[in-house]
């Protein structure tokens, strides 16, 4: 992504380039151990048009780096390599399978006098290892969610099947990686929970129970409202990556119909029926279409004994979305989908408007929205709960933050400091721009606050954060 820096005004066309993906490859050193067979190690390489020898060279460097670091710690090899121009991230998700992501450092291109090529300055301190290391792990988790492990593909169809699967998945997935807007939230990979009163929560739970009772095929259910999670029957780690998929990929692709007018052709299904707004986000887009296919995406989740393959049905009515997961061994028919639509559609529509009403009541009580003096990010490692008032909207393409990127990086730095020692800590810093940034770590929770009170002193900042904790997290203890 190219951004023109404000300094260009002076006639000097200075171009600022944000971090971008240079290479992404997957290899297994055991697959071509003999000289001349190195290419066999490479299972996937992006961009694919790179010349063969360069691919081999780049994979060779990674192997060498990993091997070299084993001299100093056999069990914990390299995780990243910093060079002037780029950073490489290494991840071994399964034994001997390595995924490597090469990210180019952000750079500034400064034009020179006539005839000379522009000077390029690499900004080597801008990329945070924790953020991109987490992005790389997410890539694998996402692959695994839809394809299962690498070893599984190897067992099913050998290297050939595995390379096919990798090609098919990563070709598209890498296009959705937006490396310039990754930040602390990628490190947490948390789940945003929808705040709810007990009554409404019970209503939802009883809805889930009723549906699971009537449609015995359903193994797991997850309930979301407004892109926030309310109830999930899945393991936490699986929900984490499924949530990521839903909120950054599936939902943004289907958000238009709700926003479109009632008579819009985009919502043929619901026209004329105010009590039934439900529709499938995966599978058939129109049940009445005689050509409709009843194929749903398959996902792999972790259960007590190994991995389980499931159909993923995502059904949505207004702002409420429900995921139903059914064992992949069952063939899903038109009848089943019609039955589900008939049962869930009206109930979910009613439930969605109940939640909406409740939500508006709560908003009125808490008073009108006025721009607060602070913004914060909260994350709880135990239940993966995440809350951010810094990010305005996280979509598939971009995460919009309301603060300067440097402040986000300071948050990232503080997070790294916390990660180094496993004890409760508090760090308060004042940036050169006079913003105050407060990080607190207590038990398994982390809270980061950015205060825009430039003239405040340490004690006032402390008071402000105390007030924030009292109003937002009144039952959570933070080290004072």
């Amino acid at each position: 992504m190219l951004m023109i820096s404000p300094r260009m005004a002076a006639g000097m066309q200075e171009k600022q380039y944000t971090p971008s993906l240079l290479n992404f490859f997957i290899y297994n050193p055991k697959f071509g151990p003999r000289e001349g067979e190195e290419e066999k190690k490479i299972l996937f390489y992006h961009p694919s048009e790179v010349e063969k020898n360069e691919k081999i060279r780049n994979v060779g460097l990674c192997e060498a780096i990993v091997q070299f670091t084993r001299t100093f710690c056999p069990s914990k090899p390299a995780k990243s390599l910093h060079t002037q121009k780029n950073r490489q991230f290494f991840f071994e998700p399964e034994e001997n399978f390595w995924i490597v992501m090469v990210v180019r450092n952000p750079m500034v291109e400064k034009p020179n006098k006539e005839g000379k090529p522009p000077t390029i300055e690499y900004q080597e301190e801008e990329i945070l290892d924790t953020v991109y290391g987490a992005v790389l792990q997410q890539c694998y988790s996402m692959y695994k969610l839809f394809n299962g492990t690498f070893v599984r593909a190897m067992e099913a169809g050998g290297v050939e099947l595995l390379t096919q699967k990798l090609e098919k998945f990563f070709y598209r997935y890498l296009q959705t990686l937006h490396l310039h807007s990754c930040d602390l939230l990628d490190v947490f990979g948390g789940i945003s929970f929808f705040p709810l009163d007990k009554m409404t929560y019970l209503k939802i739970q009883s809805f889930v129970n009723r549906v699971e009772e009537s449609l015995r095929l359903i193994k797991y259910t997850a309930f979301l409202y407004n892109d926030q999670l309310i109830w999930s029957g899945l393991e936490q780690e699986d929900m984490r990556i499924l949530y990521k998929y839903l909120t950054t990929s599936l939902f943004p692709r289907h958000s238009e119909p709700e926003l479109a007018g009632r008579d819009s052709p985009l919502r043929p299904e619901v026209a004329g029926n105010l009590l039934h707004y439900g529709r499938f986000l995966t599978g058939p887009s129109n049940l009445k279409d005689p050509e409709a296919k009843f194929r749903f995406p398959r996902i792999f989740v972790n259960t007590g004994d190994g991995y389980e393959e499931l159909h993923l049905i995502v059904y949505k009515a207004m702002s409420a979305a429900v995921c139903f997961m059914i064992s992949a061994s069952v063939e899903l028919s038109r009848e089943f989908c019609e039955q589900l639509d008939g049962l869930v559609g009206p109930q979910l529509t009613l439930l969605a408007s109940d939640i909406c009403e409740q939500y508006n009541v709560n908003r009125r009580i808490s008073g009108p929205d006025k721009e607060p003096q602070f913004k914060f990010i909260y994350f709880n490692h135990m239940n993966l709960a995440e809350k951010s008032t810094i990010h305005m909207r996280k979509t598939a393409s971009v995460s919009l933050t309301s603060v300067h990127p440097d402040l986000m990086k300071i948050l990232g730095d503080i997070n790294c400091d916390f990660a180094r020692v496993d004890e409760d800590e508090e760090i308060i810093v004042k940036a050169m721009t006079d913003y105050w940034v407060v990080g607190k770590k207590s038990d398994q929770r982390e809270l980061y606050v950015i205060l825009n009170q430039k003239n405040a002193n340490l004690i006032e900042v402390n008071e402000e954060v105390k007030r924030l904790c009292a109003t937002q997290f009144n039952n959570i203890f933070f080290l004072d």
Partner: protein
């Protein structure tokens, strides 16, 4: 280069070095013992009449190659001393009056550089960079200097002198009755063993060392390893070089490798490659700066010009031949980097002294001047008592730290007057200065370093020392100085803030810092290093190259830390974990007032020049 040349360098002069090196083992600087002054070929200057006392002259191998190699770096350097005044980066050579007027009595956050407590009233003594990052930008500069040194032309000019070291070496062999070459080889092995380096480099114990440092040549030849012998590590170092050149082949530069719990940092300083492997919490930048110190340590023994020259002639030269015996300097420097805050603060600390006393010492030193004398430095341990410099010449704190290291790692200077060539790399990487190093008394901590541009100046400087001592004694200052040194530091309790455990305060304009004794909870070596690690962590966050900070308050289970950087000073505080934020704020004010009150004693406010 032919294979057979590997053990017997073709270069005539280098062969000769080898022979002198054997004789002069095991330490650098090497000591020549003379029971009476005789006429030794090549050391004519010692044979002056009337010097009928025992002289121990120290020679480093660097001095010897200086004479062996057909180069004359001195010419370049002497010109430098007189013409190339190093500009002060902050331009704070403001008139004294303005500084005096601006010096506020009470410390306020708005203190600017030059008015903060501890700011020198005349001018700074050091060239000081805002932070260490500035120092890494000197690559181009060095290359320019290289160009300055005439090479081919000097060869013939220096021709006759090339012969000298051989005779000198031979003489010494005779004098000390050195045995033949083979036994020498054995000795070499023993001296290696003396450093307790024989470790199994595949053992877990070797891997667990907190910080490894490796130095290698661009041909991948081992030059130095902190733990384990270079021989055992030669393949590891070969891999390191391979990684460096592989990345360079892609028109890129390798910086570091990060893994869980440790980092590997690469520093490419042609013709050397330095690699650090650290399990500490230090950032990549801090580790790079430490490697830079090691690099300069090597340069200080050889000069960059000669280092380049050696490798130009023979790419796979084994530099350990030239550096043999200097390992303990590097070992000691690495220890210093772990425990002396001055090295990461880019500052120097001084002995607290009443300003009247310090002024007398300074002026005595100032009076004992000589034509080619550039710096006179009086140290007490690793603390500065005073420093007098030639007008317009500034000593870089890094160079001073290298001098500390040289003095601190060799007990030989206690035994007599030392005379050693030394390159001060931040001053000029191309040439040698000549340092006269001696303790005022054998049992005293006071060490005098006189630095001259003339290698024949030994007796002149010896005389300077005599005059300086006479002056001190005449004014009975010596006694007062000795007494003051009984308390070379102060306990933090003097400040009167119970929760304050320790602090470091640096005055930016003077390049000096002050810090109390290490308090009880941090007295063990491990804890002291941990405390320094915490300060380093604060320092690196405050001075981040793209997102620096003004202020940090860090509250954890074992201690609370606070750091604050203004345009005038840097402050790092360590409180007991029970202290509150309100208390920390009031402590800052109290501490700054105390430092202002004590600044006469804690800092050198009126540095002198010749």
């Amino acid at each position: 280069m032919q294979e057979e040349n590997e053990h017997e360098p073709q270069l005539v002069s280098v062969t000769r070095i080898k022979c002198s090196e054997k004789t002069l083992r095991p330490t650098i600087p090497c000591i020549l013992h003379f029971t009476e002054v005789t006429s030794v070929t090549g050391l004519e200057f010692l044979s002056q009449p009337g010097q009928e006392k025992t002289i121990r002259a120290c020679y480093s191998l660097a001095w010897i190659i200086e004479r062996c190699l057909p180069l004359k770096p001195d010419t370049g350097m002497e010109a430098d001393v007189h013409n190339n005044s190093v500009p002060l980066e902050n331009g704070n050579l403001a008139p004294v009056d303005r500084l005096r007027r601006d010096r506020s009595d009470s410390p306020t956050p708005g203190l600017v550089e030059g008015t903060e407590p501890g700011a020198g009233q005349d001018s700074a003594m050091f060239v000081h960079a805002q932070s260490f990052e500035d120092l890494t930008a000197d690559g181009e500069q060095e290359q320019e200097e290289e160009v300055q040194v005439p090479e081919g032309g000097d060869r013939s000019e220096r021709g006759p002198e090339v012969e000298k070291p051989r005779t000198e070496g031979e003489e010494n062999e005779k004098m000390q009755g050195q045995p033949g070459e083979e036994e020498q080889e054995q000795e070499e092995v023993q001296s290696g063993g003396g450093r307790a380096k024989e470790e199994d480099v595949n053992s877990e114990a070797w891997r667990r060392h907190r910080k490894h440092v490796f130095v290698l040549s661009e041909a991948g030849k081992p030059i130095y390893s902190r733990y384990g012998t270079e021989e055992a590590l030669s393949s590891t170092m070969g891999v390191m070089m391979a990684l460096v050149s592989f990345v360079e082949a892609g028109k890129n530069v390798i910086r570091s490798i990060h893994a869980e719990g440790y980092k590997v940092v690469f520093l490419r300083k042609s013709p050397l490659v330095l690699v650090g492997v650290s399990r500490t919490r230090q950032s990549e930048r801090e580790l790079t700066r430490e490697l830079l110190y090691i690099y300069y340590q090597i340069i200080s023994l050889l000069t960059l010009t000669q280092l380049n020259h050696v490798f130009q002639i023979k790419q796979n030269y084994d530099l350990r031949r030239l550096l043999a015996g200097s390992e303990h300097l590097t070992d000691n420097l690495l220890r210093l980097l772990d425990c002396d805050p001055g090295l990461f603060l880019s500052a120097v600390t001084c002995v607290p002294l009443p300003s009247s006393l310090r002024d007398v010492v300074s002026s005595s030193l100032q009076a004992a001047k000589a034509k080619n004398l550039v710096f006179s430095i009086l140290l007490a341990g690793s603390r500065l008592v005073t420093l007098v410099r030639k007008k317009d010449q500034y000593l870089h704190h890094m160079d001073l730290h290298l001098l500390y290291n040289l003095v601190g790692s060799s007990s030989s200077f206690r035994e007599g007057e030392g005379w050693t060539p030394i390159c001060l790399p931040k001053f000029n990487t191309a040439g040698f200065f000549h340092a006269h190093i001696s303790y005022l008394e054998p049992a005293s901590d006071l060490c005098l370093i006189l630095i001259s541009t003339d290698r024949e100046d030994f007796f002149t400087l010896s005389d300077c020392k005599r005059r300086f001592l006479e002056r001190l004694r005449r004014r009975s200052t010596y006694q007062a100085l000795q007494e003051a040194l009984l308390a070379p530091s102060y306990p933090v309790s003097q400040v009167g803030i119970p929760e304050l455990r320790h602090f470091v305060y640096k005055s930016k304009s003077s390049g000096l810092y002050t810090s109390p004794e290490i308090p009880i909870p941090y007295q063990s070596e491990e804890e002291q290093e941990r405390l320094m690690g915490l300060y380093q962590y604060l320092h690196s966050r405050m001075h981040h190259p793209t997102r620096p900070l003004r202020f940090i308050y860090h509250c954890a289970e074992r201690e609370n830390l606070l750091s604050w950087v203004t345009s005038g000073f840097e402050l790092y505080l360590c409180f007991s974990p029970l202290g509150t934020k309100a208390l920390a704020i009031s402590a800052i004010n109290k501490l700054l007032k105390w430092i202002r009150k004590e600044e006469d004693r804690l800092f050198i406010l009126s540095p002198q020049t010749y």
